[in-house]
């Protein structure tokens, strides 16, 4: 029983990370237009926000946040990942923003794409 509890304390929840990443991107990129000189700052802000909140979860994990922002002009982009790790303890999340539904609604307004991948690697 105790062991189970320990396990729960030490593993992170996928939903939590998903929420954190989603919110961080939303807060930074909402209602902005693509601007080459500002993109660097946005990426920095997103990565900083996500890692900060992940660390605050206080789990024994190492985190990697990878963020790409691309100007929207009809060009496509594709992300693939491949890992060699502990499939039970470790986890990854890839979030693309804006979501398909949102994109359709605000097609005119959006001038950028963002793809954010978060990897959590267990230390134990």
């Amino acid at each position: 029983m105790e062991e189970n509890q320990n396990l729960e304390e030490n593993t992170y929840s996928q939903e939590e990370v998903d929420r954190i990443t989603q919110e961080s991107i939303e807060s930074v990129l909402k209602e902005v237009q693509y601007d080459e000189s500002k993109v660097q700052g946005w990426i920095n802000a997103i990565c900083e926000k996500v890692t900060q909140q992940l660390i605050e979860l206080g789990k024994p994990y190492k985190y990697i946040v990878h963020c790409m922002i691309m100007q929207r002009n009809g060009a496509g982009a594709f992300v693939t990942t491949s890992q060699w790790w502990d499939t039970v303890a470790d986890g990854q999340i890839i979030i693309s923003w804006p979501k398909d539904k949102q994109a359709k609604q605000e097609q005119q307004k959006n001038t950028l794409h963002c793809i954010c991948s978060v990897f959590a690697v267990s230390m134990i």
Partner: protein, 125 residues
């Protein structure tokens, strides 16, 4: 009386030995080699299979180089985008052990696409 813990001549490995450490230059060569091989005549059409192929290939080669005895975990991230003159910027932030963990990234560009491969090597204590 409490028994004194027996002193055993045991060594615990908490850091990779220098020769076991992840070598970024070697990895860089490997990535570049595979990218040249796969994407030299590549176009953006068949990118889904292509990128999967690249990621799996790099991972398998790394697995061969660092056998089961090494305690590195590998993450291979492949990003392929269509080349249409748009602006792109990529950044990553890592929360890890600076001494043992490593990150390598390489790019490849041709007329129709750009490809960015990032490999993260994370040490398991």
């Amino acid at each position: 009386m409490l028994k004194k813990p027996q002193q055993q001549n045991q060594e615990y490995q908490i850091k990779p030995k220098p020769r076991e450490k992840f070598k970024s230059s070697k990895c860089r060569e490997l990535i570049q080699e595979i990218l040249q091989q796969k994407l030299k005549t590549g176009s953006y059409q068949d990118v889904t299979t292509q990128s999967k192929d690249i990621a799996e290939n790099i991972k398998n080669r790394l697995k061969q180089q660092y056998t089961v005895t090494s305690r590195y975990k590998f993450i291979v991230h492949v990003l392929i985008g269509q080349q249409r003159g748009q602006g792109v910027r990529v950044g990553s932030k890592c929360f890890w052990d600076y001494d043992t963990d490593m990150c390598v990234s390489e790019t490849f560009i041709n007329d129709s696409l750009f490809c960015l491969v990032t490999v993260y090597a994370v040490y398991l204590y």
